[in-house]
Amino acid sequence: MSAEPAATVAPAPGATGPRRGRRGARWRSPFTPYLLALPGGLWLAIFFVVPMLVMLSVSLQTGNVVDGFVQTFHFAVYPDAIRQYSDQFIRSFAYGGICTVLCVVLAYPMAYWIAFHGGRRRSTYLFLVLLPFFVSFVIRTVSWKFLLADDGVLLGNLKDIGLLPDDFRVLATSTAVIGGLTYNSFPFMLLPIYVALERMDPKLLEAADDLYAGRAAVFGRVVLPLSMPGVFAGVLLTFVPATSDYVNASILGGTSDTMIGNIIQTTFLTNADYPLASAISFILMVILLVGIFIYARVLGTRDVFEMGTR
């Protein structure tokens, strides 16, 4: 029945289909959609595109704070940066990746439980998940430091009763950094997955059950594929910030746990080497973009996004 919508419209000579179709809405300017996008577009242009170009330009300058910087198109700063900070780059992606995987593993079951078994208390549970957000995340991370201190409330007492050896520590290890990253990213993973699961028609689960799917098959063949848009969004929202984070590493990490964010921070603020800092930032951004692009391709974004618009 949807096959022949054009059949009723007699094609007038010279008039193309789309024009005719729009005739009824002629009072509406064709620029309306662009006007709607204008405030946001301007915002992005001024506060994102311009700084980006400035950053690109700065990265290709040489000089120092005292004598000033000159545009020299010194492209060697890029390979130099990668060579010099390859450890931190790799560590950042490793930490970001582990954090993302941990978030999926922790958040998915919880989102599933809230969505399908939360009953009337679902919003309460979601609120509890979001509650930490009402405290600054720096403060939260600092409080982890107190909690995990070598002789703090947790470890100190465990050591006193002999459950842990005296030289055991969490703080200033990669565990602490990844733990902090995971903790801070968790809600960003949980919420999109929850939304994807929550909007799923429960009849689909019944239909799968009816069609001889056991619990595992219902999950693997129906629930998981249909929740992939949520997982996809969650991964983006966790992986990118976690990889470029510097707060967790600087508060919870030791000297051997520095991430690329910390390098950018010290290069920029302490060493005032603006070109190098800009170059590192740019490299990080490009790698993230390329990574996400590949990830989207592998997962099949077409499907992922279409599913989301069901």
Partner: protein, 425 residues
């Protein structure tokens, strides 16, 4: 299942579903023996839900037997328990009491994925991430059917529902009617022992619904599978079903063939739910016997005569007791002069005339204070019978009077299904 023979056997027995119920017996039961167990049997099944206000009864004790190859409908208003009953047969709800048997096997607490019945959902519940073929193949793949066979059977069933060309479309790209047929194919391809349909045509517009009714009936005949169909639309049920269970307040008010339901509604509820009927409430003057059996002569005015046969479903019809009788609007004759002969006669005045094309509806206010609806066929020689305000005589044959029983469960519902009803070959 006999579906292996495919659509070849469809040619025979294209009887009108309304009149077919008792006389056709072309079915060869799968077991080969005469006393094969019914396809579906409900024994004392009841369902209660716990709510904040305490237990709510969705289904009061139901006994039901559905024969192999039968097109069986559960008909009733929303909240009558028909969908709950269907969901219990499908395994989505566990009965609070009673047993459910499929082909004699107790499946009361067997989960849906291990029950050999499939459900067509009201909202279709097609998997949005799979294309048409993927949706249809879902059940076969879960059952571990070999890949080549899956492809062949999916192709066959898509041809049956005339969707072969759309196999790689996503559900979202299909019209409502096409989605409906995918849902049907997805269930049928598994060759279930019985197919359950939960108001599958509810979301379609009238024209498409009527087409699909005929289509569904055709498909059911071709595959020869027992269909259990839930609907609140009486015309839909009448069109397709071999037998219909009319449900009200969690009980089966009447279980009968469409014709029987229409002509002999057991209770006032059934009379009102199926078609239009006139209900008269009168006390009994005398009970006597005529050539066909006992009859009750009811209170009526001078020159009027209201008689109703007393059938076995009634109890306690004696002089002075009150009887409700129903007579269908199209059975009533309307004349200017009092008709002669052994007919029921009422006198009245026409209060409303509504011309409806093929027929005209007259509303007549009788001397006894009842409002009677009369359908008059506008056939070639029919001229305007009466206008508003005219005095008329209404008459109908005694055997078109039918006495109603008080509302409640139909005691006959638990009886064995009328011998092989199936229209399949």
């Amino acid at each position: 299942m006999t579906a292996d023979e495919g659509p070849a056997s469809a040619a025979d027995a294209v009887g009108d579903a309304r009149s077919v119920s008792a006389q056709v017996s072309t079915t060869v039961p799968t077991g080969g023996t005469g006393d094969a167990p019914p396809a579906i049997e409900l024994v004392g099944v009841a369902k209660e839900y716990m709510s904040r206000r305490g237990a709510v009864t969705a289904v009061e004790t139901i006994d039901l037997r559905i024969a192999e190859g039968e097109f069986f409908s559960l008909l009733g208003p929303s909240g009558c328990g028909k969908t709950t009953t269907l969901r219990m047969i499908g395994g989505f709800e566990e009965p609070s009491r009673g047993q459910i048997l499929l082909h004699g096997q107790d499946v009361t607490s067997v989960p849906p994925n291990k029950r050999d019945v499939n459900l067509v959902f009201q909202s279709y519940a097609l998997f949005p991430h799979l294309d048409v073929a993927g949706n249809v193949a879902f059940g076969l793949k879960r059952k571990g059917v070999a890949r080549g066979q899956v492809r062949r059977r999916v192709g066959e069933i898509l041809d049956l529902v005339e969707l072969g060309a759309l196999a790689d479309r996503r559900p979202r790209e299909l019209s409502g009617g096409q989605q409906q047929r995918v849902a049907l194919a997805r269930a049928l391809v598994n060759r279930p022992r019985a197919l359950l349909l939960d108001e599958p045509l509810g979301a379609l517009d009238l024209k498409l619904r009527q087409t699909m009714q005929i289509e569904l009936k055709r498909i059911q005949r071709e595959v020869g599978i027992t269909f259990v169909y839930v609907t609140h639309d009486q015309s839909e049920a009448l069109t397709m079903s071999d037998r219909i269970a009319v449900m009200n307040k969690g009980q089966i008010e009447q279980l009968a063939s469409p014709r029987e339901l229409y002509e002999r509604p057991r209770t006032r509820f059934v009379a009102g739910f199926i078609g239009t009927s006139n209900v008269l409430r009168r006390s009994v003057r005398t009970v006597t016997t005529d050539g066909t059996g006992p009859i009750a002569i009811l209170d009526a005015g001078a020159d009027e005569r209201v008689i109703v046969p007393v059938h076995s479903g009634l109890g306690g019809v004696v002089t002075g007791s009150v009887v409700e009788l129903t007579v269908r609007p199209e059975k009533i004759n309307m004349t200017a002069a009092r008709p002669e002969g052994d007919v029921c006669v009422l006198r009245g005045r026409v209060t409303e005339v509504v011309y409806l094309g093929t027929n005209t509806t007259y509303t007549v206010f009788t001397a006894g204070g009842d409002e009677i609806t009369v359908f008059w066929q506008n056939s070639a020689d029919a001229n305007d019978l009466a206008g508003r305000g005219d005095e008329v005589w209404l008459s109908w044959r005694e055997d078109h009077s039918y006495a109603l029983a008080p509302s409640g469960a139909d005691p006959a519902a638990a009886e064995a299904p009328t011998e092989p009803v199936a229209t399949a070959g």
